[in-house]
Symmetry: C2
DNA sequence: CGTGCTAATGACTGGACGGTCAGTCAGATG
DNA sequence: CATCTGACTGACCGTCCAGTCATTAGCACG
């Protein structure tokens, strides 16, 4: 038995491992499409299977249930290099203004410009009914983002770059237009498009004038 | 026939009309609860009926389908006196700062503090899959709100109260923290509460400093 | 009190879909 | 080549529920 366990897997697993991973990714990608299009409840696992090029039963060899599929998909999509960004930004040690511009460029290119935008949209839609998803997203994305922004603001205050501390107290104010852009483009973009780049630019300009100016 | 139509309805309609209205309202109120709790797809009409104190079939005497029920509920919930607010604000002709404070107070008390918050949350959740709802909400709420904010900003610029025009170009920047507050309290409020009043205060302070200060 | 009408009911139907599992077959093994 | 294995399949099961409709309740009127 020990021999069997050592020899055979060494060959067939090596091969199967790639395939397994590739198949899982295909399933998760298909799931993203279908969940985005229909929402969690109306998404049909048969559609996911068809789009992934497997049979329905196969999905259950990779995930335990429809809900687990949803969570796996969100997790995979959230493998955002947010930690990398976080450390890079803190290491670069740029002025707060440059840092904020970097963050908004990141937001536009890596979130709004990719399918991550749809994952976040899905979270906004479904998190109310999936406390688990809400908690994961809060822990892995939100709280880190808020902490990063708070540090940037605090550092700018210490250095005298900022004259006031509203951003240290409410880092949410910095990304609020990001949330709005996401919601707006997802829901109303086809009715009234929003020039996200210009809006972000105007936002940073306003923020800098307010924070660098004389304290109230 | 003419006599019947004139006489009998005059009595029985008068009575039935009240009851009919009351029953419809009960159904819509029940629908709000259930839709908020479960989302559109997972909401069961039997639950709505039970909560409204009627039988399932009765719902179909008032609305044509589950989707029509959802739309009727949103419509009823959107009977926001936004037009009144709009005209009052334009008539009062206060300084832009006072106007913005009024708007945020309104937002806190009349939206975030009531079940309208839940209706808006429902719209954010479901509008992606209900283009009709998205369009109605955009037409009746969003575009009016944006127009109002734009006018306030333009007027302030003309008067010299504001030194720059970012808000005229992107009124969205003014309400972005409102959207964030709504999303945050709906999804993450139980994990990390947000002091909405303080945040709004900080937001208005920042905005005023940026807009009243010297142009960039 | 009987008659006629509408509002209301809730058992029922038809279809949809999450999840299961007996069976298939490609490829590994000896 | 014969055998074995386990990944994969898809028909099937049980359940759920939107929407229907035959039946009943409630009420006005003569």
């Amino acid at each position: 038995m020990a021999t069997r366990l050592k020899r055979k897997p060494a060959i067939s697993r090596a091969r199967s491992e790639e395939q397994r991973q590739a198949k899982l990714e295909a399933i998760l990608a298909a799931a993203l499409d279908v969940f985005v299009e229909k929402g969690f409840s109306d998404a049909r696992l048969e559609d996911v299977a068809a789009r992934a090029g497997v049979a329905k039963g196969t999905i259950y060899l990779y995930v335990a249930s429809k809900e687990a599929l949803f969570e796996a998909m969100v997790h995979a999509g959230l493998a955002v290099p947010i930690e990398t960004v976080e450390q890079k930004i803190l290491a670069l040690d740029l002025p707060a203004e440059a840092t904020l511009r970097m963050l908004f460029a990141f937001l536009r290119q890596e979130v709004l410009g990719t399918q991550r935008k749809q994952i976040v949209g899905l979270i906004l839609s479904e998190a109310g009914r999936f406390p688990e998803i809400a908690a994961v997203y809060h822990r892995e994305v939100l709280s880190r983002g808020m902490r990063l922004l708070r540090r940037v603001s605090e550092r700018a205050v210490e250095r005298g770059e900022f004259q006031s501390d509203e951003l240290s107290r409410f880092p949410q104010l910095a990304i609020a237009p990001g949330v709005l852009a996401l919601v707006w483009t997802n829901l109303f973009g086809h009715i009234e498009p929003l020039d996200v780049e210009d809006m972000f630019e105007a936002h940073v300009a306003l923020l800098m004038r307010a924070l660098k100016g004389p304290p109230a």
